[in-house]
């Protein structure tokens, strides 16, 4: 269940280099792709999902040469794009049937069985006769998962699926994804560090079309042990501190003072205290280093 990407490059006609000689291997399990907006995550995912042709490079998934045998990949692929719409005036059940046909389930009985199951799984069973166009954001995302599961995919790509969901919806969604991810290769792109922390066994940080760091969330935080320091400063001192220290992030307190987190091998000075590193620190360090 290995996805191997070698020397992948894609430049758009406006000159933007979306993917820049990218190499990565992704194993079975949940894989989080972390990166800021415009990092090239979506371009990479679309390219893997056969929606876009790269300029050069190769992608293989379990002996499938993805770029030259798109159809074989599509048979085992589940893809949920960043945003999608549906045909109006069609119920979830009917629309899933449409997708089930597209995904090759020939027998009507089997289609029904599968649709029932994915509806149950995504907790949409009660609303299966409603028009999907009338669904709330979270329900629609879960519908996206439902359609993705129809072909029992081995490679699942979900592009920023939690953007715009309220916390409850997001939780429900991640639960579903977790269940799905156990047995397959799931690539999950996001710019929310929290998502990766909760879900992923492996992760990579991406920016400017390149992989900055590939690691495991637990390992990455471990390696920063006793290298992250925090202190509270006045707002106007920020410039000064920024020049002196490697500030990873800052957040305001109620009295308008700032808590800052700093990366340093040793304690910068006495006002600083050691703090447990988190994944966000890993992410910001990677971005800063690029």
């Amino acid at each position: 269940m290995n996805l191997t990407i070698t020397n992948l490059t894609k430049t758009y006609s406006n000159g933007t280099k979306a993917i820049d000689n990218l190499n990565i291997t992704i194993n079975k399990g949940m894989f989080g792709l972390l990166g800021p907006n415009g990092a090239g995550k979506s371009s990479l995912m679309r390219t893997i999902a056969t929606l876009q042709a790269p300029d050069s490079g190769s992608i293989t998934f379990q002996n499938i040469d993805v770029l030259n045998d798109q159809m074989s990949l599509r048979k085992v692929l589940g893809y949920l794009p960043q945003s999608f719409g549906v045909y109006p005036k069609l119920s979830a059940e009917k629309l899933l049937d449409y997708f089930a046909v597209l995904k090759g389930i020939a027998s009507k009985k089997e289609r029904q069985k599968m649709i029932e199951h994915v509806l149950e799984l995504t907790n949409l069973h009660d609303v299966k006769e409603k028009h999907v166009s009338g669904y709330s954001g979270g329900m629609k995302q879960r519908f996206g998962i439902a359609q993705l599961l129809l072909n029992s995919p081995q490679l699942i790509i979900v592009d920023e699926p939690t953007a715009g969901l309220d916390p409850a919806e997001r939780n429900r969604f991640l639960n579903v994804l977790r269940e799905v991810g156990a047995e397959n290769t799931v690539i999950f792109s996001t710019h929310i560090v929290e998502d990766v922390k909760e879900l992923c066994t492996d992760m990579a940080i991406m920016n400017n079309g390149q992989i900055l760091q590939k690691t495991k969330p637990s390992l990455a935080t471990q390696s920063l042990e006793s290298k992250i320091w925090t202190t509270t400063i006045e707002r106007k001192e920020l410039d000064l501190f920024e020049k002196k220290h490697n500030i990873l992030s800052s957040n305001y307190n109620e009295d308008n003072s700032l808590n800052i987190r700093v990366y340093a091998l040793e304690k910068p000075n006495d006002t600083f205290q050691s703090i447990t590193p988190n994944l966000e620190d890993v992410y910001f360090i990677a971005l800063k280093n690029s």
Partner: protein, 1161 residues
Amino acid sequence: MFRYIFLNELKYWLKKPAIYIYILFFSGIAFIGFVGTAGLFDSPTTQKLTRLSNSPFEINYMMQYFNKFFLFLLPAIIGATIYRDYKDNAHSVLYSYPIKKKDYLFSKFLSSFLLVCFITLCVGIALLIAEHIPGLDTNKIGPFNLLGYIQVFLVYTIPNMLFFGAIVFATVSYFRNIYAGFVVIIILFLIQNITQNLFSGYLIALLDPFGQNATIYETQYWTLQDKNTKLIPTIGAVLFNRLLWFTIASFIYIYVYKKFAFIELPIQTFSLKRNKAKRQKKTFKNHINMSLPKVNYVFSIKQHLINCWKLSHVNFLFIIKNWMFYIIVVLGLLSVLFTIGRVTNNEEITILPVTNIVLTIPAFFFTTIIMLLTFIYSGMLIHRDRTCNINQLIDTTATTNWTLLLSRVIAILKMQLFLLLIMMAAGIIIQLFNNYHNLEIGLYFVDLFAIKFIGLLIWAFVSVLVHTVFKNTYLGIFILLIGWFGISGIKQIGIDSRLLLFNFTEPMQYSDVNKYGDQLIPYFLVKLYWFAFSSLCLVVTYFLWNRGFVESFKERLQFIKSRLSTSIKIITSLLLITFVISGFTIYTEEQKNDELSSSERNKAFSKFEKDYAKYKSIENQPKITNIDLNISIFPKPNDLLVKGNYTLVNKSLIPIDTLLIKTGFDETTTFKLDKASSVIDEDTYVKFTVLKLEESLLPNDSIQLEFSIKNKPKTLFENHTNILNNGTFFKNDIFPRIGYFLNSGNKHPNDSTAHYYHYYSKDSDQINLNTIISTSNNQVAIAPGYLKKQWEKNNRNYFEYKTDSKIKNSLSFSSGNYEVLKEHYKNINLEIYHHNTHTYNLNQMKAGLKAAIDYNTNHFGAYQFNEARIIEFPITEGTFASVMANSIPTSEMRFIANNSNETIDISFYTIAHELTHQWFGNQIVPADALGAVMLSESITEYISLNIYGNKYGKEKALDFLKMQHKRYLSGRTQEQKQETPLYLVKSGQQYLAYGKGSIAFNTLSHYIGINKMHDILKSFLNDYKFKEAPYPTSINFLNRIKKETPNTLHYLIEDYFETITFHDTKINTVNVITAHESYNTSINFQYSKSRVHDKSVLKLNDTIEIGFYNSQNKLISIKTILISKKDNTKTFNLKEKPTKVVIDPNYLLIEKDRNDNEYNL
């Protein structure tokens, strides 16, 4: 803000190439169309009075068509201007700005409306320039009249754009759907069609969305002269029409304006509660069974094909489960029903809803609607995934591109089939409604689902390609429209090869007698060629199919390589082979046709006219006295072989040394004289030969002409004979004819030389005929004369016919598989040879024969034959009936007439008319001069009117007369030359010969008395009956009438026969004074008459009738009065109270406007 949006919008559009494409396209067509009709490409006409190309009427006429074209700009520009904001999702941002609704909507509408107006103005300017370029035919260009242009733009074009632009704008804003705009246009067309077929006269004029019928109404009685000079009257029907549609458009616009709100979602008219998803309350189960059920995934070709079908259904439902589609189906159904209903029920002459008629009448209109919907919905389906933003989900499934493509194509085809089914349902409804039960379901299926469907399917394939190439749907639709209209355009510039006219085939002609004849094979060959072409288009579509994210067209071209699989290669090669083979077959068949194009033919004829004019003066030619024929008809290969012999006699007192012989144009003829001669001149194209006899033919001497005729072999596309598989009918015009044949019948009746020849054939007086005619063993062949012998040889049927008495040399021959109805009536054998199912009107026809025999033998003497046979010929050969010796060849149309309604019994009338010709036309034969048909057709039509009245009563006879009035008044507007007085009527002028002729004779007979009229006719007939030259002219007849009628009525002869006179009467007021059960009714009215080509005020001493009606609309009395001045007040003493007064209730006067003849109290 208004100014800002307005200017911004204009700037946006002016940057778009589409605008300039529209301008170029429309003005280009207008320019070429105009200079084409104005004769830039033709040799100049010599005729004095022609239809001017630049008269206000003609400009209006042309612009009316453009106005319909322009309608498609409305959704593409006015609709798009508002739709743009929704499409780009700009509206969700835009609507949060502080823009006033008024500013937003008006600036958007006004800017796009101005753009559309600008494009239409360009067309006007193109016409204006075209009118002034040098090289046009000066006869076709009248004085420049700017008012004509201003009028058509101010009254029609710009208001139309405003009204329907507003409706389209409102609809698109309301539904936030650009296609709704196109659908509105189709609905408008349907409304026009329905009003045209449902209503009559003024109502059509009023309700027509485009105002076109208002113009037609106002100019319905315009002659060529009027059309060339007058401006279209705009007060009246036109004004009210415009006001009505202005009101309708305003209402819709105001409604939407009020409803319009700056919100993200479309305006909701219906509650959409059911669409709201239930709020989710249930929490997730802690443990979910993740393992998906085991199912089989199948990706075989067969499964993909099955999937195409399954998926197409979702697409098909998307098309039809839609309010727009419902409206179109309902209106389409109504329009088909009303269109057929008009022909089968509402017209004066109606026909039975036989399946063939039901399929033919609405065919063009309905297939046009299906075509437009194909253009629109294929665009919608092709772009649907992207519009819905579901494309990424679909594109990552393991479904092949061709499955996705075909599922859409199939959905469109399903829509087409569905609409064809609707048409079939409409046809069957009409048939059952009329109690007609011979449904011919098989014919429905062949016509709709084989013949029509293949043409629609080819368009569907091409339109899928166009929409795949062009991402802008309305540009795609527009390009398809251009292509579709353009086909008739390339035809006009002279390209007529089937290889280049996309999907073009002449409409199929069908007859119950001959079915499709041999048209099906060439039809399907041409369709196969274009089917292969359009399937190749589909292959290209497959190559360009948009999947995933594609940045440029270049990238799409790269798909081709990856999609070029072996099976595609095989399919493409097969299609290419089919395309080339069918194309080559068409090409070789077309090459076999050595026929000249129409312009070349005209040239050849005018050259002949010039070169051979010197023979015009050779008038003295021998006349045919005896004809022997041996005719072989081969129905199956459509071949004809004629061997014949003429006996020619010099009946003049002068020796003849030059013989002029014209032979059949389409046939190969050889001939031989039994006296030595040499060819001195010959036109092999026109088939005219000039022979010099070595020894002159002395008076009373005779010469034998032996000839043999063979048809040119038929090609796939062209049948060079009139021989059909069944129902053959041909005349002797393909036999050799003697004498100079042009300009016959054009002598003035005063010309003494005119009396020497009769009108029907210059080369004979009356002849004896002996015919042996053979045909295939399942058919009967019929020739003039009586059947003397009948035998079978070599598996063919032979018949020998011989005339007992002399007949005119107008001969007809028939062959077919007939059923025969026979009856012996007053020593005359009546026979009707008809197609087996056409039994509907046989009784009426028989009654017509009997009534005509009774009436004419009673008043004018014996019938000259002991046989009268009616022979049906297919509707494809014409809709007429005529009399040839003892036969009456009658069109199928008269056999399927619908006489059960409250209309004119056309079958009875036709036959009565034709048989009456045996007296007027055959016993008395008019001279070859102007006015000849007054002696045959007008008298016959008058007698038919009397026969009709005797049979069906006075009321019906009046209906018949009303129809003749209409025939005359509308017929004269179609006159391409100049209307002549009745006594100079030419052969083509049926509106005069039949229409005015029957009115004239009827009015005269009304005042001199019907018996007197009969006496005059009989004595005139007796003077000329069965006699050879001198033949009578119209002037001979008028002189006879003048002699026999009192001087006080001579004005009638002058008004009706010798001049073109119109009457005008008008009742101003009517007063009734009651006194002791008597009612003194005084009427104030005007009466005048005027003449064409004579502006002087005419003296009056005329008789007119006034009718009085009671409250039950029953006639109380008719008073006949003498009028000597224009304004009159007359008082009448009536026994009953009148509620209605009508001047001229018997339709004796010729009036253009009869509405003011009636006065209701």
